[in-house]
């Protein structure tokens, strides 16, 4: 009962804070929509995507972009939740969270689930907009995407949480976001399929794309939208999520992690 109470308190607070930050909500939706409209309209005739799984037929570029943009929504939410955790740390609220009489990893886990929920909500808003813009999607995509979106959102929030162990100040964190978000997005299959890069012979980019966990997340969503389970993508996404969370929980442990060895006042 106590554990559920703690979980509920943390999730409710995150939802309330999100509600009061309207600019965050608006930019979270405008950003991928802008990409979708501008890029797909512009690249419609530049990039043709020949038939490649999970697609059964020739698709237009806007269809190809959707999973990448969904992942972008989740990536921004994951980073945003970490930014708010760094803010909480600086504002002292993290201290309050850590005095709840439950294991520390559970407090962090609750924060991650809260972030995952927010990510999924935003993803669905974007999906609705994409549908309104007549992007071709399977009719049941919204349903088949649900578990994949939750997992992807959780993983990205985990990675964000891990970053907060090492990046202590908000100003630094905002900069770190740029180093994480854009490379993750650009060196993935969000904007173009891997074989296109292979065709052009730029091997080092191909390596980056293959090793980039964000690629796995995009592909997980891409296949899930077509009711297909991409095992490799799932394994990488889940693996990265679990490992990031474990490392982050360790980082926040005052007995073992970095937290206890920092200078005073630096929780």
């Amino acid at each position: 009962m106590l554990w559920f109470s703690v979980f509920e308190a943390i999730v409710v607070r995150e939802l309330l804070r999100f509600r009061y930050q309207t600019s965050r909500l608006v930019s979270a939706i405008v950003r991928p929509t802008l990409w979708l409209v501008a890029f797909s309209a512009g690249f419609q005739n530049v990039l043709g995507i020949s038939i490649t799984p999970p697609y059964q037929k020739y698709i237009t570029y806007d269809v190809y972009m959707v999973p990448g943009l969904l992942a972008m929504v989740l990536l921004f939410q994951g980073m945003q939740s970490s930014l708010s955790l760094v803010f909480d740390r600086e504002a002292g609220i993290l201290r309050l969270l850590l005095t709840a009489p439950v294991p520390r990893w559970f407090v962090l886990f609750s924060k991650l689930v809260a972030s995952a929920v927010l990510g999924v909500i935003q993803a669905y808003v974007f999906l609705a907009i994409a549908a309104l813009l007549r992007v071709d999607m399977p009719p049941w995509a919204a349903l088949t995407l649900t578990p994949a979106l939750f997992l992807a959102s959780f993983t990205l929030a985990s990675v964000g949480l891990l970053l907060t162990v090492y990046v202590r100040r908000m100003e630094n964190f905002a900069g770190t976001m740029n180093f994480v978000i854009f490379p993750a997005f650009f060196f993935s299959t969000a904007l173009y399929p891997a074989w296109k890069v292979e065709e052009s012979g730029v091997t080092w980019i191909l390596w980056l794309i293959t090793l980039n966990p964000f690629t796995a997340i995009v592909e997980l969503l891409r296949f899930a939208a077509y009711n297909q389970f991409n095992m490799a993508a799932f394994a990488v996404t889940a693996g990265v999520g679990i490992v990031s969370f474990a490392l982050a929980a360790r980082g926040y442990d005052p007995q073992k992690g970095l937290l206890g060895r920092k200078a005073r006042d630096d929780v």
Partner: protein, 243 residues
Amino acid sequence: MTAVAIRDLSKSYGRTKALDAVSFSVEPGEVAALLGLNGAGKSTLFQILTGLFVADAGSVAIFGHDLARAPIPALTAMGMVFQAAVLDVDLSVAQNLRFYAGLHGLRGKRADTEATAALGRFRIADLAGQKVRELSGGTRRKIEIARALMTRPPLLLLDEPSAGLDTQSRRDLVRDLVALAKDEGTAILWSTHLVDEVEAAAKVIVLHRGRVLADGTPAALAVQTNTATLEAAFLALTRAEPA
């Protein structure tokens, strides 16, 4: 069962020894004041007591539970007020209180009842719906103390709780804390650098440069230092310490 039993607690930050073999205890129903200048190590001690940091040596037992080995039962017994205000300014007073309540297993109607009672104790029950951002520093402090009392903890830790309060409010706070200890049997440990607050305490622990210089009633301290007032006693003790 002793509420707080601290034995030989030490903590260093690099070469600075923030706490040096600190030992003292607080009994249930006792109001203990931790008196020290800025930089004496009071906040470090509180950070260790609340489980944020781990000491380098020594032990802390909260109602018999070793803080290092059984932190959860220890934390369950504590209510705490930190030195820096810890409130969500974008949320209302009630929302802040409900959040804290939830973190300690208090939900629904029970949480609301306790919140109203806690705010009422400081005569600010009418502020429940207000956004924290709109309230003054002194009021925010009262809210934080009320919040700590919501779970009716047997041990209350307050790190410089009177910071930002005017004279009257400070006096009211001390009076309310003493009443709390007497009525509910709450053990109270509060840190301050303001000597006048401490007169009402049952026990004063003087902390200076990480070391306990004195531990006893205000009267005993005056006798120990051969001075007339607590303030004189404190100054005598801290000046006597070599740099």
